[in-house]
């Protein structure tokens, strides 16, 4: 393995751990679909950045920030209208993104891949993933209160609106970090599928979180190995492996 591949493998593992952790809370918040939709908004950002000769990651970040602020503002209004709005806005952004992203870059932007990475970029990505993990752990008690009852959380002094914004920003950051490997179309799976597996296998809070992270790591390790052995695209392979693990997890009888 080249040094570059080693960087990529290490990054894939740390990113997967942070994505699974964020995904566990997203699953409990029942925002997995909305969250998946958010990730699509990265594509027009990438497309615009490439058109203007800028760094695509910065373009994706800017677009995600806009998407997150939109969701955050919509979040307080629940109901069909919001869901519909999210569906329309984010699938439209995927379509527009596909139109403006140069053809030769489109596959990488949509499905990710094994792009080379410099050492400084590697360090920044790794540190940001660790930051996501530490932040979610620090916020976990507040998130739990918010999940259980917004009234009780507010009465206990939790600033729920601000907490939701923090969580969405962490969600967005995980998407940015996962884009390189999985692309705008698949990155949501790195967040959702491991959490779905964890939920099948564990019934306690800490068990659920650890199982989700373990499922994410296993998907990445197996996915990378399978992709390398058979010469397949890494992004789709990792997601297919994760989906396979999810199906296996369904076989476990609920206690």
């Amino acid at each position: 393995m080249s040094i570059n591949e080693i960087y990529t493998v290490i990054l894939a593992l740390i990113t997967s751990a942070s994505a699974s952790l964020v995904g566990s809370f997203a699953l409990m918040k029942r925002m997995t679909l909305a969250g998946d939709a958010i990730s699509h908004v990265a594509l027009p950002g990438i497309g615009l950045a490439l058109l203007f000769g800028m760094n695509p990651t910065l373009g994706a970040t800017a677009a995600l920030l806009v998407g997150i602020l939109l969701i955050w503002n919509l979040e307080k209004r629940t109901g069909l209208a919001t869901e519909t709005m999210i569906g329309v806005v984010f699938s439209a952004s995927l379509a527009i993104g596909a139109l403006i992203t140069p053809q030769e870059e489109l596959e990488q932007a949509l499905f990710g891949g094994f792009a080379p990475i410099s050492f400084p970029a590697f360090l920044i990505y790794a540190l940001l993933s660790v930051l996501v993990i530490l932040s979610v752990m620090a916020l976990r008690h507040r998130l739990v209160l918010g999940l259980f009852s917004s009234d009780l959380a507010l009465a206990s002094g939790v600033k729920l609106k601000r907490l939701n914004l923090y969580f969405l920003l962490l969600f967005g950051l995980v998407i940015v970090l996962g884009l390189r490997l999985l692309g705008a179309l698949l990155v949501g799976s790195l967040i959702i599928i491991p959490a779905a597996i964890g939920r099948q296998l564990a019934h306690t809070f800490s068990g659920f979180i650890s199982m989700s992270i373990a499922a994410g790591l296993l998907s990445v390790i197996l996915g990378l190995a399978v992709a390398r052995y058979y010469g397949l695209d890494v992004g789709p392979t990792i997601v297919t492996v994760a989906a396979g693990l999810f199906i296996l997890s369904l076989l476990k009888k609920r206690i």
Partner: protein, 230 residues
């Protein structure tokens, strides 16, 4: 006795609709206040406003040493969340920076066995769930407890348990209790004061004096009786 709560000219509007109108009352420390009224009369909104969750006009003055605990009517919580009672109590204890032993104390105070901490919230009986919520409210050693229909979903036996517990907390621990109820028997047996609410205050005072047949008639015969809150 010292005043723990003074409310003057309280008005609450939600979505352009007036929910509470010109409400004034006060409460001494250690007293039990029952808030009664038909569905849709604003009882729950009043509790949440007193807790500071809902914006309002007018004055709500809590004594400087007032610490509030809240037991909501029903939790919209997803009972399939992978949370047990400990996760929940721990979360609040962490947010309030309380030592771990307070969790044990709170559970003991409501008469639940320590094993309850390991029970998933989805596996609790109605009575256990309600007691766990009271334990949750007791974290942080509040001196005022606000109950929203604490027995709404319980059978008679569990209901009596909860009211005994409420009485205990008031008499032995000296807590001020604010209790929303629709049962008049509870008012007579548990409250020092009663507030009749139907968007505006229709009566306030000691139950035997305040609850005249005429007041009750106005309170429950009003057309708003059929207007549901949810």
């Amino acid at each position: 006795m010292s005043k723990i709560l003074t409310v003057r000219d309280l008005n609450v509007n939600l979505d352009g609709q007036s929910i509470l109108k010109n409400l004034s009352f006060d409460l001494d420390a250690g007293e039990g206040l029952a808030i009664i009224g038909p569905n849709g009369s604003g009882k729950t909104v009043l509790l949440k406003t007193l807790l500071g969750i809902i914006p309002h006009q007018g004055e709500i003055n809590w004594a400087s040493d007032a610490r509030l605990g809240y037991v909501p009517q029903k939790i919209e919580a997803d009972r399939h969340l992978p949370l047990n009672v400990r996760n929940l109590l721990e979360a609040k204890a962490d947010v309030l920076n309380l030592p771990d032993k307070e969790i044990k104390t709170a559970v003991e105070m409501v008469g639940l066995a320590p094993q309850i901490l390991r029970t998933p919230i989805g596996h609790l009986s109605g009575g256990q769930f309600q007691k766990a919520l009271i334990a949750f409210a007791l974290l942080g050693k509040p001196n005022v407890l606000l109950f929203d229909e604490p027995t709404a979903s319980l059978d008679q036996l569990a209901e009596e348990h909860i009211y005994d517990l409420v009485r205990d907390l008031q008499e032995k621990q000296g807590l001020t209790i604010i209790l929303v109820s629709h049962e008049l028997s509870v008012v007579y047996s548990h409250a020092d004061k009663v507030l009749c609410l139907n968007r505006e205050g229709l009566c306030f005072g000691a139950p035997r004096e305040a609850l005249t047949p005429e007041v009750l008639n106005r309170l429950y015969a009003s057309p708003k009786h059929h207007h549901h809150e949810h």
